[in-house]
Amino acid sequence: MADDLKHTTGEATFLDANEIVLNMGPQHPATHGVLRVILKLDGEKIIGTECVIGYLHRGVEKIGENRTYVQFNPYVDRLDYVASVSNGLGYCEAVEKLLSVTAPPRAQTVRVILTELNRIASHLIWLGTHALDIGAMTPLFYTFNQREDILKIYENYCGARLTTHAFRIGGLQYDLYQGFEQQVKKFCDEMPAKVDEYEQLLTTNRIWVARTQGVGVLTAEDAIEFGVTGPMLRAAGVKWDIRKAIPYENYADFEFDIPTGKNGDTYDRYLVRMEEMRQARRIIQQAVDRIPDGPIMAKVPKVVKPPAGEVYHSIEAPKGELGYFIVSDGGLQPYRLRIRPPSFVNLQALDRMVRGSLVADVVAVIGTIDIVLGEVDR
């Protein structure tokens, strides 16, 4: 017996050989779809991660090369499907830029309202799922209830709720319906109380703070190095928002603040997003009070055929910088259409954020990156 024992302990792996590889996803309650993360664990401590993505790859960029500019417009809604309006805005603007047209003021204001509503909707989903991942199950239902109000506005406007295809190249297809302003105003009036309620449930909750503060820290340097954008960058203390830095539409006309955090941890990202919802409401309130009259469509030819050339245009989507790089050869279809997805780039920082922490933190960090796999995998 003694001999055998010596043999086992001699390799010095007797107590150290407890590294296990945990395959998290693609079917897992907290990976927000089909993300697969391979975790190398020492007990519960993470010593390495690897993301495996592509389970939802649909070849959107290839499809883009085989559809006309107008035909491709609805496809972008399927990228970040919880923020389809933002996707549509980015695409329409990129093509407009290529065509050298701008949407008329009325269309621009409506676009701003719908996009900011979309930002709130996207952040509401983020909040609900993030809280659920950390174990607070109730906020999910509250946020989905509130999101329903936004979806109703979309439904009234264009008939669709999720993949809205709300905008067209050059402006809007539909003018506003009767009572749009009232409905949006009603939403804005009800919103602060609800957001306050979520904050009451979470912001000062000891467990919530313990679970998020100091978890998944991403410093400003790291965030820039990893190309991380959106609320994650701002939570690290970088005051950068494309709506302010390189304004598009008529964002320059509205007053709003860019909330920033200090520590770049999960808690700061939470606070930043909560504040962003309030700021989005501010923009909507300003915009809805002064929707100009006039046409809703710029003069765009029936057949969209941009001159040869290439353009990169990006907007501040709820998740970060959403860019479209379009190369036109003067034909009916884009020669090359590249989508720069915020989720994909942000997800890359996951490894940096979770290394050395515990399994439970991975879940919190995946939630706080706020990925949508439709956009990661395209």
């Binding site: 017996m1 003694a2 001999d3 055998d4 043999h7 086992t8 792996t13 007797f14 107590l15 050989a17 407890n18 007990g43």
Partner: protein, 167 residues
């Protein structure tokens, strides 16, 4: 009659459990049989109307120590050990030694059989003896009890120091 039946039941659980504990290949199976053995011992305590001891036996040994055993077994990769030969080449020597010890013990018991005459079990309920245990430990045997606890404390601190390379 019923008393004896229970005694033999518990005794056989203990013996069988002990035997299976040392012969199972899987460490977890061994642990399960060890638990059965410990539960059997608790049963014997109960049978002797030492109910406090029985309860503590279960809580400490089954609920505490065996749970930690299992914890360690699960944490440490024992697959390798399971594949190895269970007994080394000297098993017959061990058997011989065990038989000798067993014989000695039996002989001793046989010689001293007069000392085993217990008064018959009290038929009804005995008064609760939890307090008696407490009194014995904290009054009559205070010093040994405290010495034992200090020894345990030292052992625990030593284990922590050894296990944690960096404090």
């Amino acid at each position: 009659m019923l008393d004896q039946a229970f005694f033999y039941l518990f005794a056989s659980v203990i013996l069988l459990g002990g035997l299976l504990t040392i012969t199972r290949r899987s460490a977890v199976h061994s642990a399960i049989f060890l638990i059965a053995t410990l539960l059997g011992i608790a049963g014997l305590f109960l049978h002797l109307q030492a109910e406090f001891l029985a309860g503590v036996q279960v809580i400490l040994y089954v609920g505490g120590i065996m749970v930690l055993f299992l914890f360690v077994i699960m944490l440490v990769n024992l697959d390798q050990a399971a594949r190895q030969r269970q007994f080394n080449r000297q098993w017959w020597l061990a058997l011989l030694a065990a038989a000798a010890v067993c014989g000695e013990a039996l002989y001793g018991l046989y010689r001293g059989r007069g000392a085993f005459t217990f008064p018959g079990a009290v038929p009804g309920n005995m008064p609760p003896n939890t307090q008696a245990v407490g009194n014995a430990l904290y009054q009559n045997y205070m010093l040994p009890f405290e010495v034992a606890s200090i020894m345990l404390l030292v052992a625990m601190v030593g284990a922590v120091v050894m296990a944690k390379k960096r404090l």
